[in-house]
């Protein structure tokens, strides 16, 4: 509802007009009627009643009775009534009063003011009442000072009540009745705008100055997992938060961005600052985002009403950034591609030509195959070592049935051992072995490494795998015992170092990378376990390592702490 300058002006004029006319009307009327009605008190009371009636009419009756017909009827009644009174009281004995009354009537009709017309009627009613009351009472005149005071009282009361109801009157006077057509157009526009906002992929939310949500779009609703109605009017921090995550070294300052931005209410764009990330978090999800904050202004008063925030999901961008930053991963990928090709085609050659090849040619192919496989292992080992060195080697632990796990591994390697004329067995544990808390993928690397080594370093004989429950320390110990060549004592001290290799005869194609035990040790360390060897030259070796059981509350707590620490460092 737009009120332009002229209309505002008109409103003021009208209000002033009322007050003036009433005042003058009263004054002239009193002068005229004084001989008839001297008791000012009765007049005052009557006036207040009439003014109250006007107030009641506009505040309560008129808003409920909104039809043009009723308005027309009431206007006619008042108009008619006024004219009737004029005739009944024998016309206007005072010319001034007549002029004023006439002016009021004409003016009201011209402006089209329902209010003024009503008021005119009120005054007519008042005159009529005075006429009857006055003629029956015939009271003496009272002190002029009292008259003055009385007059001011009347004025104030009327002015006050009229001012109070002027808003209602104003509304009724300037009310725009929308036609059915206009209503439809409005509805269409609102729907269309809702659709536009709804189809924006970025997440949009508007918040008022008190921090309550006043608008959300579909993307935002999807992210939060709530409907528009559920979120409307709620305090925004109950629904989501935006944090700034610093990635500089160990600093983890988390600042509630919107809280600080909201207070300044300035348009703000987040920059692609490599050192800062913003995280949008709800009860069920979180995303890395870039966002823009813009102030909301009230269309009419230009007062700041709140802010609109638009979030853009950049977690993907982040992920790809990660891929680029991690040189070793990229290098590993690049290395693996030609290795895949080599292995694949050599194998294909073998398949298609095996029968046509002489034994020594077959050997060429076999050795190429083995070398290619070594490359695969080497790349993986290099990746692991690089992660270990960078302290970004992660361990995700869960409850694992240790006995089954080891049994399965032995079954897996048994054929390989058999191929080399070795006997690999799993010794059933005598006591009950509890569940272990390990990262199955990582710990598998350890057992793979030990079994591989056992096979490689044993020319003949047996490999025995057994499990023991160390109840005192709540650990589970696994032993891999072989009847191989054993390890010299001076070598035993360096066994778990990078690139350390024991010299001596090995199974064909089992040179290894010298990294296996180094990586295994690290994995076991990350499980808060131990790995060690007992060996005597020519008598074989026993490699043992321990992992925590589910009863090891202390280590489980440590795993939990590591996990939380990881969450903080995740956005590094």
């Amino acid at each position: 509802m737009k009120i332009d300058f002229l209309d505002r002006y008109r409103k003021r004029v009208e209000q002033t007009l009322w007050v003036l006319i009433i005042y003058l009307g009263i004054t002239v009327n009193i002068i005229h009627l004084e001989p008839i009605v001297s008791n000012r008190l009765i007049l005052d009371v009557l006036l207040v009643i009439i003014a109250l009636y006007t107030f009641v009419y506009y505040r309560y009756i008129a808003p409920r009775v909104n039809t043009p017909v009723i308005m027309l009827v009431s206007t006619t009644i008042f108009l008619g009534f006024s004219l009737m009174v004029v005739f009944l009281s024998g016309g206007f004995s005072s010319i001034y009063y007549g002029i004023l009354y006439g002016a009021l009537l004409i003016g009201a009709t011209l402006i089209g003011s329902q209010a003024l017309l009503t008021l005119t009627g009120m005054i007519a009613l008042w005159i009529l009442v005075q006429y009857f009351v006055g003629s029956s009472f015939g009271l003496a005149s009272i002190d002029p000072l009292w008259q003055l005071i009385g007059r001011f009282t009347e004025l104030s009361v009327i002015a006050f009540i009229l001012y109070g109801s002027s808003k209602e009157i104003n509304a009724r006077m300037f009310e725009q009745q929308l036609t059915e057509d206009e209503k439809n157009k409005l509805r269409e526009t609102v729907e269309r705008e809702k659709n536009i906002i709804g189809s924006i992929e970025d997440m949009v939310v508007a918040i008022d100055i008190h921090g309550n949500i006043i608008l959300t779009n579909t993307s935002f609703q999807k992210f939060i997992g709530k409907s528009a109605d559920e979120m409307m009017g709620t305090y925004y921090q109950d629904v989501f938060t935006v944090h700034k995550c610093y990635m500089l070294g160990e600093r983890k300052d988390i600042v509630d961005i919107l809280e600080s931005e909201r207070n300044t209410l300035l348009p703000k764009h987040t920059t692609e600052d490599e050192e800062v990330e913003y995280k949008l978090e709800s009860h069920k999800d979180s995303k890395l985002v870039e966002f823009t904050v813009s102030p909301l202004h009230d269309a009419d008063s230009n007062k700041e009403e709140g802010i609109v925030v638009v979030f853009r999901d950049v977690s993907e961008k982040q992920q790809l950034e990660l891929m680029k930053l991690d040189f070793v991963s990229m290098a590993a990928h690049e290395l693996r591609t030609p290795i895949t090709t080599i292995r694949g085609y050599i194998h294909a050659l073998k398949e298609e030509m095996w029968n046509e090849l002489e034994p020594d040619k077959r050997m060429y192919i076999n050795r190429t195959e083995m070398a290619a496989l070594q490359l695969v292992t080497l790349v993986e080992n290099l990746l692991s070592v690089s992660r270990i060195e960078r302290n970004s080697f992660t361990v995700e632990t869960r409850e694992t049935n240790w006995v089954n796990f080891i049994k399965q591994k032995v079954e897996e390697y048994e054929p390989r051992a058999f191929e080399r004329g070795l006997n690999m067995t799993f010794v059933e544990p005598e006591t009950d072995i509890p569940m272990a808390i390990v990262d199955p993928l990582r710990i598998a690397e350890v057992i793979n490494n030990l079994l591989n080594n056992a096979i490689s370093f044993t020319m003949q004989g047996n490999i025995e795998v057994s499990i023991e429950h160390d109840m005192e320390n709540n650990m589970i110990v696994t032993h891999v015992k072989d009847t191989g060549q054993g390890i010299p004592e001076d070598a035993q001290n360096h066994l778990f170092e990078k690139f350390f290799r024991v010299s001596g005869t090995l199974q064909e194609g089992s040179k290894g990378t010298g990294l296996g035990l180094y990586i295994s040790k690290h994995i076991v360390d990350m499980h808060y376990g131990h790995i060690w060897v007992q060996s005597k030259l020519n008598e074989g070796s026993v490699f043992s390592f321990s992992v925590p059981s589910i009863n090891n509350i202390e280590i489980i707590r440590k795993f939990e702490e590591d996990r939380l620490q990881l969450k903080f460092n995740h956005h590094k």
Partner: protein, 135 residues
């Protein structure tokens, strides 16, 4: 006859797998060199299985996977990641988007891949070692 769509940009590797999957195992094989044409192939005719590389030009495999799994038409087509990327975070991300399995190319010979695919069609689910994430 089951149809497989292979999305792989390296021509040597692509030929290697086509050879084995088509000749040896008799699957109906279609190929795409990148994510975009891969998605188009899926649209033209839904395959019974998609073998998806991750490091692809233009759109990467993870985005292709997202597209496939977010679209009600295609979200039920099984997708195996067939890649040389072993990064745990990426593999985990893929599984959370809805990947059905993961195979490290360098670790497997083509015939081993065929075996896993055949097992999948026979059992209705991938082998256990295909559900683990990488290093």
């Amino acid at each position: 006859m089951k149809s497989i769509l292979l999305i792989e940009d390296d021509v040597f590797i692509r030929d290697l797998y086509i050879r084995v999957l088509k000749k040896e195992a008799g699957f109906d094989i279609r190929v795409a060199e990148d994510g975009e044409s891969g998605l188009k192939e899926v649209e033209d005719r839904h395959p019974d299985l998609i073998l998806l590389d991750v490091m692809l030009p233009k759109i990467n495999g993870i985005d292709v996977l997202k597209e496939l799994k977010q679209n009600t038409d295609t979200k039920d087509i099984p997708v195996f990641l067939l890649t040389n990327l072993g990064q745990r975070s990426i593999i985990d991300q893929a599984f959370s988007i809805g990947a059905d399995g993961y195979m490290l190319k360098a670790r497997l010979l083509p015939n081993e891949i065929v075996e896993k695919v055949t097992n999948f069609f026979a059992n209705g689910k991938p082998d256990d070692d295909m559900l683990q994430s990488g290093i």
